[in-house]
C-alpha cells in the first residue's frame, strides 16, 4: 500500500504571538503533530515592551491545508493574529540574509569577489585565504548566489530564513 502525499503551493505566514515561554514549541509542535511542512521559520520580539513576537513561517500545501494551518494557529491561546502574506490579492516583500564563507586563492578568489559584487553581497570578514559574504535578498536570489559560490570554494553557509511584510501603508 502506498501512502499518498499531496503537492502544494508555497505560503508565507506572519503570526503575532505573546512573547512567553513555550509559544514557539506550541507552534512548531502543531506543525509536527498535524503533519504540516515548515520550510523556514524566523522569530523575534517586535515591541518596545517585549510583549509580542512576530513569527514568519514559510510552509507549503494545497489550499485546504493552508486554510487549516491558519485556523489551527489562530485558535492557539497565545496567538494574536495570523496573516497569509501570499494570499491572492496581497503583495508583500520577502527578505533573507545569508552569511557565506568561501575559501580559496588565486583566480577562484577573484571570481568569488567579482560575483559577490554582481549580487551586491558585502564582505564582512576576510583572511588571505577566505571571505565571509553577507547577502540579503529573496530566498531565490540567496539560493542562486550560494550555487555560484559552490564553484568558488564554498565551505559554510548560515541563513536566517525568510522575514516578510505586506506592501502598503497598513499594519498587520
Amino acid at each position: 500500500m502506498k501512502i499518498k502525499t499531496e503537492a502544494g503551493e508555497r505560503h508565507v505566514l506572519a503570526i503575532t504571538v505573546d512573547n512567553e515561554a513555550g509559544v514557539l514549541a506550541k507552534i512548531t509542535g502543531l506543525f509536527t503533530a498535524r503533519g504540516y511542512n515548515i520550510e523556514s521559520l524566523t522569530v523575534a520580539d517586535i515591541t518596545a515592551d517585549h510583549a509580542l513576537s512576530r513569527i514568519t513561517i514559510v510552509t507549503s500545501g494545497p489550499p485546504p491545508i493552508i486554510d487549516q494551518i491558519i485556523a489551527q494557529l489562530d485558535r492557539l491561546v497565545p496567538v494574536h493574529k495570523v496573516v497569509d502574506l501570499t494570499d491572492a490579492g496581497e503583495t508583500h516583500v520577502e527578505r533573507e540574509i545569508a552569511l557565506v564563507k568561501v575559501a580559496g586563492t588565486g583566480d577562484k578568489r577573484i571570481e568569488a569577489l567579482r560575483m559577490a559584487d554582481v549580487f551586491r553581497a558585502k564582505v564582512v570578514d576576510t583572511t588571505l585565504t577566505s571571505f565571509i559574504f553577507e547577502i540579503t535578498g529573496t530566498s531565490d536570489k540567496v539560493d542562486r548566489f550560494i550555487a555560484l559560490m559552490r564553484e568558488c570554494g564554498l565551505v559554510e553557509v548560515g541563513r536566517t530564513g525568510v522575514v516578510a511584510i505586506a506592501r502598503g501603508p497598513e499594519a498587520l
Binding site: G22, P64, P78
Partner: protein, 576 residues
C-alpha cells in the same frame, strides 16, 4: 492563594492525589469548609472523575496532582478532555524553581508533556502571577470550545506570598473566541433550510457543551422545520430518543436510517459536530449530493475533513436561537417533506437494531437485550449513564434511549478504556441523589478498577453493570472482520470473580447468568443501597451491528453477522 482562588471561582469539588510537590496546597485544603477533596486511587481516575463531574453538570472539573508521575498519570484524562471538549483545570505540583531542569526527584517537564494535549498550559514562576493565572485558566477552560488547562505550580511558588485579588472581568489579550454567529450567515442558513427537500440535522457534543438551553432550541428548530435528526455519539441526549424525528446515532455503528438519510440528503445541517472519521466513513462517498451547513464554535473544525457550503462560527445555542428567530422573521413555513419521510421510513423498516436471540429463561443473554432491559428498568428514574469503550459502549449508545443532555457520559474522541467507572464516580459526587450507572466491559473496567476503594470511602451508590463476554469484544470483532478470526490477545484471560471482588471492597456483588435472571438482577441492583457491581454474563460471541466496515461508504453497511466477508485489502486495514 490557590485554595482562595478556587473558592472565588466557585469550585466545590477537587479530585486529586497528594504527593511531595503539592503538600502545601493539601495543607491549605485540610478540613476546608467549602472545598471537598475526593481522594482517588490513581491520578488518571482523578481526571476522568473530573470529566464525569463536568459532563454531568456543565461546570469545569478540577484536578490536583503532584509533580512527575502524578502529572504523567493525568495525561490520558487530559487528552480525553481535549478530544471531547470537556472543561477541566488540572493543578500539578512541580519541583521548586531552583531545581527545575536538574532531573530532580519527581521532576518532569509537565508543561512540555502537556503542551499538545491541553487547550493551554502554564508554568507559574512568579507568585504574583498565580492568582491571575488561576482566573485566566478557568476562563479559557470554559469559554469558546471548552478544554483542559494545566497549571504547573513549583513548590516554592506555592509557599511564597504574593498579591492576590479577584479580577472583576477577564478579557484575555489574545484569546477571544467568536461566540455570536454572523447574522448574514444565519440568514443564508435559514433560507437553505427552508428550501431543502431532503434536509437532515446532524448534531454533536457542541450542543451539550452549549448548555441545556441549546438542546431546547434544537428541539424547537427541528419541530419548526419537520426535518429528521441524527446525532454523533457525543451528542446523544440533546434530542429525545422517543421523538418520531429521531433517527438514532449515525456513523460506524449508527443506524441504517441515519446513515442512509445522510447519504441521500440534499442538505446537512451540522451543529456542534466535527465530521469525525467514525461518522463519515469513506470520505469520497460521504453524502455526495448534499449542500452542507456547518455550525461550530471552532473555526478549525470547519472544512477540516469535509468541505462545506456555508460556515457559521459561533456557539451552538446562540446559533440555534438565531436560526429560530430568523425562521420566524422571514415567515418561513415548513415544507411538505412527506416524500423524504417516506424514504426515511423505508430505511427504518429494515429494523437494523434488531438482533437474533433465544427467548428461553435459561438462554444466554444477548448483550443488546441486557442494555434494553436496563433501559426499561430505569425509565422514569432519569439515570446518568457512563460507559467504558468497546462493544458495550456501542450497544449502550444504540439501545439505551436518552431524553435530556448531560445524562450520557462516554469517551468519544480518544476512546479511553478505563474512562467510564471513574467518570461515574465524578458524576455521582456531583449528583449525589441521582442513579448513576456505569455500563462496562470486563476488560475496560479493569483499567481503573482500583477506584472501587474511592467509592467505598465516600459511600457512593455507583452501580457498575458489566456486560461480561470474556473478550475484548470490539478487538475480536475487528479480528473477525479483518484478520480471518486470528484472535491475537483479545481473550480476557484470568478474570477476577467480580462478586468476590465486590465483597472485598465492601460493595454488593451480583451475578446474572441467564435471560431468566436478567430483570430480577437489574431490579435488585437498583434497589440495593450503596455501590453494586453486576457481573452480567452475556453471549460471548455476539458482535455489534449494524456497522460500516473500515473504508466503506454509508451505503455499504453490514446489517447482520452473516453479511461479513472476512478479509480486507491493505487500504481498508490501514483505516481501522
Amino acid at each position: 492563594m490557590v485554595v482562595q482562588a478556587l473558592v472565588d471561582l466557585g469550585v466545590d469539588t477537587v479530585f486529586g492525589y497528594p504527593g511531595g510537590a503539592v503538600l502545601p496546597i493539601y495543607d491549605a485544603l485540610y478540613k476546608h469548609p467549602t472545598i471537598k477533596h475526593i481522594l482517588v486511587r490513581h491520578e488518571q481516575a482523578a481526571t476522568h472523575a473530573a470529566e464525569g463531574y463536568a459532563r454531568s453538570t456543565g461546570k469545569p472539573g478540577v484536578v490536583l496532582v503532584t509533580s512527575g508521575p502524578g502529572a504523567t498519570n493525568a495525561v490520558t484524562g487530559i487528552t480525553d478532555a481535549l478530544l471531547d471538549s470537556i472543561p477541566m483545570v488540572v493543578l500539578t505540583g512541580q519541583v521548586p524553581t531552583t531545581l527545575i531542569g536538574t532531573d530532580a526527584f519527581q521532576e518532569c517537564d509537565t508543561v512540555g508533556i502537556t503542551r499538545h494535549c491541553t487547550k493551554h498550559n502554564y508554568l507559574v514562576m512568579d507568585p504574583d502571577r498565580l492568582g491571575p493565572i488561576m482566573h485566566e485558566a478557568f476562563h479559557i477552560a470554559t469559554h469558546g470550545r471548552p478544554g483542559p488547562v494545566v497549571i504547573d505550580i513549583p513548590k516554592n511558588v506555592q509557599v511564597a506570598t504574593g498579591t492576590y485579588s479577584v479580577p472583576e472581568f477577564i478579557q484575555h489579550n489574545s484569546y477571544r473566541p467568536q461566540v455570536e454567529p454572523d447574522a448574514d450567515a444565519i440568514a443564508q442558513a435559514i433560507d437553505m433550510i427552508a428550501a431543502a427537500e431532503r434536509p437532515i440535522f446532524y448534531t454533536g457534543g457542541g450542543i451539550i457543551n452549549a448548555g441545556p438551553d441549546a438542546s431546547a432550541a434544537l428541539r424547537q428548530l427541528v419541530s419548526l422545520t419537520g426535518a429528521p435528526i441524527t446525532s454523533t455519539l457525543m451528542g446523544l441526549g440533546a434530542f429525545p430518543a422517543d421523538d418520531p424525528k429521531w433517527l438514532g446515532m449515525l456513523g460506524m455503528h449508527g443506524t441504517y436510517e441515519a446513515n442512509m438519510a445522510m447519504n441521500r440528503a440534499d442538505l446537512i445541517i451540522a451543529v456542534g459536530a466535527r465530521f469525525d472519521d467514525r461518522v463519515t466513513g469513506r470520505l469520497d462517498a460521504f453524502s455526495p449530493d448534499s449542500k452542507k451547513i456547518h455550525i461550530d464554535i471552532d473555526r478549525s473544525s470547519i472544512n477540516k475533513i469535509v468541505p462545506v457550503d456555508l460556515a457559521v462560527v459561533g456557539d451552538a445555542g446562540r446559533a440555534l436561537d438565531a436560526l429560530i428567530a430568523a425562521w420566524g422573521d422571514k415567515g418561513h413555513k415548513a415544507r411538505d417533506l412527506g416524500e423524504w419521510w417516506r424514504r426515511v421510513d423505508g430505511w427504518r423498516a429494515t429494523r437494523c437494531l434488531d438482533f437474533p436471540e433465544k427467548k428461553e429463561p435459561d438462554a444466554d443473554i444477548m448483550p443488546q437485550r441486557a442494555v434494553k432491559a436496563l433501559f426499561d428498568a430505569t425509565r422514569g428514574m432519569d439515570p446518568i449513564i457512563t460507559t467504558e469503550v468497546g462493544q458495550h459502549q456501542m450497544w449502550a449508545a444504540q439501545h439505551f434511549g436518552f431524553f435530556a443532555p448531560n445524562r450520557w457520559l462516554t469517551s468519544g474522541g480518544l476512546g479511553t478504556m478505563g474512562y467510564g467507572f471513574p467518570a461515574a464516580v465524578g458524576a455521582q459526587i456531583a449528583n449525589p441523589n441521582r442513579l448513576v450507572i456505569c455500563i462496562a466491559g470486563e476488560a475496560s473496567l479493569q483499567m481503573n478498577i482500583q477506584e472501587m476503594g474511592t467509592v467505598s470511602q465516600y459511600r457512593l451508590p455507583v452501580k457498575i453493570f458489566i456486560l461480561n463476554n470474556e473478550w475484548m469484544g470490539m478487538v475480536r470483532q475487528w479480528q473477525e472482520l479483518t484478520y480471518e478470526s486470528r484472535y491475537s490477545n483479545s481473550y480476557s484471560d484470568s478474570l477476577p470473580d467480580f462478586v468476590k471482588l465486590a465483597d472485598a471492597y465492601g460493595w454488593t456483588g451480583l451475578r446474572i447468568d441467564t435471560l431468566g435472571q436478567l430483570e430480577d438482577g437489574i431490579a435488585k441492583m437498583i434497589d440495593t443501597p450503596g455501590p453494586v457491581i453486576v457481573d452480567c454474563r452475556v453471549a460471548q460471541l455476539a458482535n455489534c451491528f449494524p456497522m460500516i466496515p473500515s473504508g466503506a461508504a454509508h451505503t455499504d453497511m453490514i446489517l447482520q453477522p452473516n453479511d461479513i466477508t472476512g478479509t480486507m485489502d491493505d487500504e481498508a486495514k490501514a483505516l481501522v
